[in-house]
C-alpha cells in the first residue's frame, strides 16, 4: 500500500520506542527534514497524491542543486486520510519523534484547521497548502499560504458578478459543515447581502452525507436564480450526480462556485458531460501563462504516469512545487532554518515561483489573489485528452485571464458546445 511511508515509519520506529531521548532539538548533520501530512486517501486523496508528486519533484530538483544551505532535503509525508482528527497527532509526532526542521501544512482546509493552534504554540513556520481562511481565527504570524485566494470576496466576486449580469435576484447556499465550506459560506452570505441578492435557501449538511436527492429537491423548490455550492470532493461528485439525475430546475441561471474536486482529473474524466454548464473556481487552466508552468507540467506528466496518479496535474501540483521554491528562496536569503527569521523575511519580500510572483499580507494570504471562475462547456465523456487544450473550461473571471462569456441559464449552458 504505502511503501514509502512504511520505510520512513520503520526508520522512525526505532527512535520512537526509546522514549527517554533527551528533549533538545537534534539537527542531523547533513540532512534537513521537512515534515507534513498529506491526505492521500479519503475525500481529498486524489488531489493530495498529485500534490505529493509535485513536492517530491521539487525535493529531487533542489537536492540536485546541492540541497538547502548545503544540506540534503528529506521529505517525510504521512497520510491523514482527510481526517482532521489525525493531524494533531501526526504533527506532534513530526515535531517530537521525527524531529523535523520545517513544516508544510496538509493539503486542504479541513485537515489543516486542527493544527493551527498547535503550530502557533510551538512557534513553528507553517507553509499553507490550499487552505481557505484557516488562519483567520488563530492569526499565526508564521503562516504562508500557497493558494491564489485571499478572502471570500476574492473567491466569489466573479461568481456573483456573472450572476448579477444575468439578472439574478436570489441565491441558494448549499454548504458542507466543515471548515472550508463554512469559512467560504460566512463570507459569501455577506457578499450576497451587500450585492442586493436575496437568500432563499441556506443549508449546511453533515460532511458525511452521501445522498443529495432530498437536498437538491429542496433547493429546486426554493426556485433560486443562483445556486452557490461549497463542497468537498466526495460530496461534490454526489451533488453533480444528483443534479444530473433529478434536475435543479429550469430557472437556475448559475450553478457551482465553490465545489472542490472538480479540478481533480479523475473526477473530470469520470463525470464528463455531467460537468457541462457548471461555473466553478480553479487555480489554473491550460492557456494561462505562468512563467515556467507549462515546462513543469510536461515534466510532471511523466512522474505522474510512473506514480499512477492524476496525469494532467493542473490544480495543485504547480502550487505545491511553488511551496518548495518559496522555502528555497527564503532559506537562501536568511541563511538559516530559524522559523522566526524565515517568517520575517517572507512577510517583507516577494517570491518568484512557477505560478507567478507571490507576496503575502498580514495574515499570510496572497496580497493579490488570482482565483479564476470558469464554466465547463462541451465536455464529452471518458476523454482525458480534451482537457489538455484550452476550451473546455471557459474562463469568465477575472478580466486578465478571461476567454469567454458565461452562458446562462444553467440548462442552456449544459447543452452548449
Amino acid at each position: 500500500m504505502n511503501f514509502t511511508r512504511r520505510k520512513v515509519l520503520g526508520a522512525v520506529g526505532a527512535g520512537a520506542l526509546a522514549a527517554s531521548i533527551p528533549a533538545r532539538r537534534a539537527f542531523s548533520q547533513n540532512i534537513v527534514k521537512i515534515g507534513m501530512s498529506m491526505p492521500q486517501t479519503g475525500s481529498l486523496g486524489a488531489g493530495g497524491q498529485a500534490a505529493l508528486v509535485a513536492l517530491r519533484m521539487w525535493v529531487e530538483d533542489v537536492n540536485k542543486k546541492g540541497g538547502l544551505l548545503g544540506r540534503k532535503v528529506e521529505l517525510i509525508a504521512y497520510d491523514d486520510q482527510t481526517n482532521p482528527a489525525n493531524t494533531p497527532g501526526i504533527y506532534t509526532k513530526l515535531l517530537d519523534v521525527d524531529k523535523v526542521d520545517l513544516l508544510i501544512a496538509p493539503y486542504g482546509t479541513v485537515p489543516t484547521a486542527p493544527i493551527m493552534p498547535l503550530v502557533k504554540q510551538r512557534g513553528k513556520l507553517l507553509m499553507g497548502n490550499f487552505s481557505f481562511q484557516v488562519n483567520h481565527k488563530v492569526q499565526h504570524d508564521m503562516w504562508f499560504n500557497n493558494s491564489p485566494w485571499n478572502d471570500a470576496s476574492s473567491w466569489s466576486d466573479g461568481f456573483f458578478a456573472a450572476g448579477k449580469k444575468a439578472g439574478a435576484k436570489t441565491v441558494a447556499f448549499l454548504a458542507a459543515d466543515q471548515e472550508f465550506a463554512q469559512n467560504l459560506a460566512n463570507g459569501a452570505r455577506k457578499l450576497a447581502q451587500q450585492g442586493g441578492i436575496k437568500t432563499v435557501y441556506d443549508q449546511n449538511y453533515p460532511p458525511t452525507t452521501t445522498d443529495f436527492s432530498g437536498l437538491i429537491r429542496a433547493v429546486r423548490a426554493a426556485r433560486p436564480d443562483i445556486v452557490f455550492v461549497m463542497s468537498y470532493p466526495n460530496d461534490t461528485v454526489a451533488i453533480v450526480r444528483a443534479v444530473n439525475e433529478i434536475g435543479i430546475g429550469s430557472g437556475v441561471k448559475l450553478f457551482g462556485g465553490g465545489m472542490v474536486g472538480l479540478q481533480f482529473t479523475p473526477n473530470m474524466v469520470n463525470l464528463g458531460s455531467q460537468l457541462n454548464g457548471i461555473v466553478n473556481y480553479n487555480s489554473y487552466v491550460p492557456g494561462i501563462k505562468y512563467p515556467g508552468v507549462e515546462e513543469f507540467l510536461a515534466r510532471y506528466a511523466k512522474k505522474a504516469a510512473e506514480a499512477k496518479v492524476d496525469p494532467l496535474g493542473f490544480y495543485l501540483p504547480p502550487f505545491n512545487y511553488a511551496i518548495g521554491q518559496i522555502l528555497e528562496q527564503a532559506t537562501q536569503a536568511v541563511g538559516s532554518f530559524d522559523d522566526e527569521k524565515l517568517a520575517k523575511w517572507l512577510h517583507a519580500n516577494e517570491v518568484k515561483t512557477i505560478v507567478g510572483p507571490i507576496r503575502w499580507d498580514k495574515s499570510g494570504e496572497w496580497a493579490k489573489p488570482r482565483v479564476i471562475q470558469a464554466q465547463f462547456r462541451g465536455v464529452v465523456d471518458k476523454n482525458l485528452e480534451q482537457w489538455r487544450k484550452p476550451g473546455k473550461q471557459v474562463v469568465i473571471y477575472p478580466e486578465e485571464y478571461k476567454t469567454g462569456e458565461v452562458i446562462t441559464p444553467f440548462e442552456k449552458a449544459r447543452r452548449a458546445k
Binding site: R6, L9, G10, V12, G13, A16, L17, A19, S20, I21, P22, A23, R24, N83, P84, A85, N86, P88, G89, T92, K93, L95, D96, V97, A113, P114, I115, M116, P117, L118, K120, Q121, K137, V138, D177, Q178, E179, Q182, N204, P206, P207, T208
Partner: protein
C-alpha cells in the same frame, strides 16, 4: 488494614513518579502518548463499574466522554474557566447524562441497553453538530492558556492531571468493589430477580453505578480539548472509544478493579506504539482481535488467567 496501607503507599509513589517524569528532561512525545494511555485507564475503570460489576454492557462511552469534552469547551470559551473547573463540570454533566440514561434504559435487558447507549451517543453527537457555538460539525480551534509553574509545557501538565484522574478513578472503583455497593452490584449481575427479591435496592444501585461511570468518563474527556487544541464531534463521539472502553476491562478482567488497569495499560500502550510505527487503522484491528480472542478463550481476562496460574503453581 495492611492491604489498604500498601495500596495508598503505591498510589503516592506512582503520583510522585508521574510528577518526577513531568519535570525531567524526557522526550515530549512520551507525555503526548502517555496522556492517552492514562485516559484509557480512567475510561476502562469507569466502564467496568457498570459493565463489569453490574453486568450492564454500555456501548455509549463516546457519549459520556464527549459530553465531558464539550462541557469543558463551553466553559473555556464562555468563561475562560481553569482546567480544574472544566474537569469538575465535565464530570458533573456526564454524571447527569448517566443518571438520565440510566432512568430511561436500565430496565432494558442486555442488547437493548447496549443499543440504547449507542442511540444516546448518536443523538448527543447530532445535538453537538447542530450547535454552532461549539463549532458544529466543523469543530473549534482552541488556544491553550499559558502553562502553570513548574511545568515546562502544557502537555506535561495535562499528563500529571490525567495521572491524578487515573489514580482517583481506580481508587473510587476499588472502594465501590469492596463496599456494600459492590456486593449489591455483583448480586445484580448474577441474578437480578433474586437480588430484587432479597431486598437489594437494585434500581438505586444501578443508577448509582451509571451516574458514577458517566461522571468518570466525563472527567476523562474534559482535558481533551486542551490536549488537542481542537475539538470536533466525529472523533469525540467515535465508537472507537466505546470499543476500547469495553475491550480493555474484558481483556484485563472485569471482576477486580485491577483488571481494567492492566487491560488499559497493555492495550493502550500497544496502540500508541502501533500508531507511531505502523498505522492508525491497525489499532482498531488489535483491539477487535484481542477482544474476540479473550472473550472466547479467556472470559475472566488476564487477571483471571493470572489467578489460575497462581492456583495451579501453588
Amino acid at each position: 488494614m495492611r492491604a489498604h496501607g500498601i495500596y495508598w503507599i503505591a498510589v503516592a509513589v506512582l503520583f510522585a513518579a508521574a510528577l518526577g517524569a513531568a519535570l525531567a528532561p524526557v522526550n515530549e512525545y512520551f507525555f503526548y502518548a502517555a496522556f492517552v494511555v492514562l485516559q484509557f485507564v480512567v475510561l476502562a475503570t469507569a466502564w467496568n463499574i457498570l459493565g463489569g460489576y453490574a453486568g450492564y454492557v454500555n456501548f455509549g462511552t463516546g457519549a459520556f466522554f464527549a459530553i465531558g469534552a464539550y462541557t469543558a469547551t463551553v466553559l473555556f470559551k464562555w468563561l475562560g474557566a481553569p482546567l480544574a473547573v472544566q474537569i469538575a463540570a465535565g464530570a458533573a454533566m456526564s454524571g447527569l447524562l448517566g443518571f438520565g440514561v440510566g432512568l430511561l434504559t436500565l430496565r432494558l435487558r442486555g442488547i437493548f441497553f447496549a443499543i440504547a447507549t449507542v442511540a444516546v451517543t448518536f443523538i448527543c453527537e447530532t445535538l453537538m453538530i447542530n450547535w454552532r457555538y461549539v463549532g458544529g460539525a466543523t469543530g473549534l480551534q482552541l488556544e491553550r492558556p499559558p502553562v502553570l509553574e513548574p511545568f515546562e509545557t502544557y502537555t506535561r501538565m495535562l499528563f500529571v492531571v490525567m495521572a491524578l484522574l487515573a489514580l482517583g478513578a481506580v481508587s473510587i472503583a476499588r472502594y465501590v468493589q469492596v463496599s456494600w455497593i459492590g456486593r449489591g452490584l455483583r448480586a445484580i449481575r448474577d441474578t437480578e430477580e433474586a437480588a430484587e427479591a432479597s431486598g437489594v435496592p437494585t434500581l438505586r444501585l444501578k443508577l448509582f453505578a451509571c451516574t458514577l461511570s458517566g461522571a468518570l468518563m466525563g472527567a476523562a474527556g474534559a482535558p481533551m480539548p486542551m490536549y488537542l487544541s481542537f475539538i470536533e464531534p466525529a472523533s469525540s463521539f467515535s465508537l472507537n472509544y466505546s470499543i476500547n472502553a469495553l475491550a480493555m476491562p474484558m481483556i484485563g478482567g472485569t471482576a477486580h478493579w485491577i483488571g481494567p488497569v492492566v487491560g488499559a495499560l497493555l492495550l493502550a500502550s500497544t496502540q500508541q506504539i502501533v500508531t507511531v510505527t505502523i498505522s492508525n487503522e491497525l489499532n482498531v484491528m488489535v483491539v477487535g482481535v484481542l477482544l474476540v480472542l479473550f472473550v472466547v478463550l479467556a472470559p475472566d481476562g488476564i487477571v483471571g488467567l493470572f489467578k489460575r496460574w497462581l492456583r495451579s503453581s501453588a
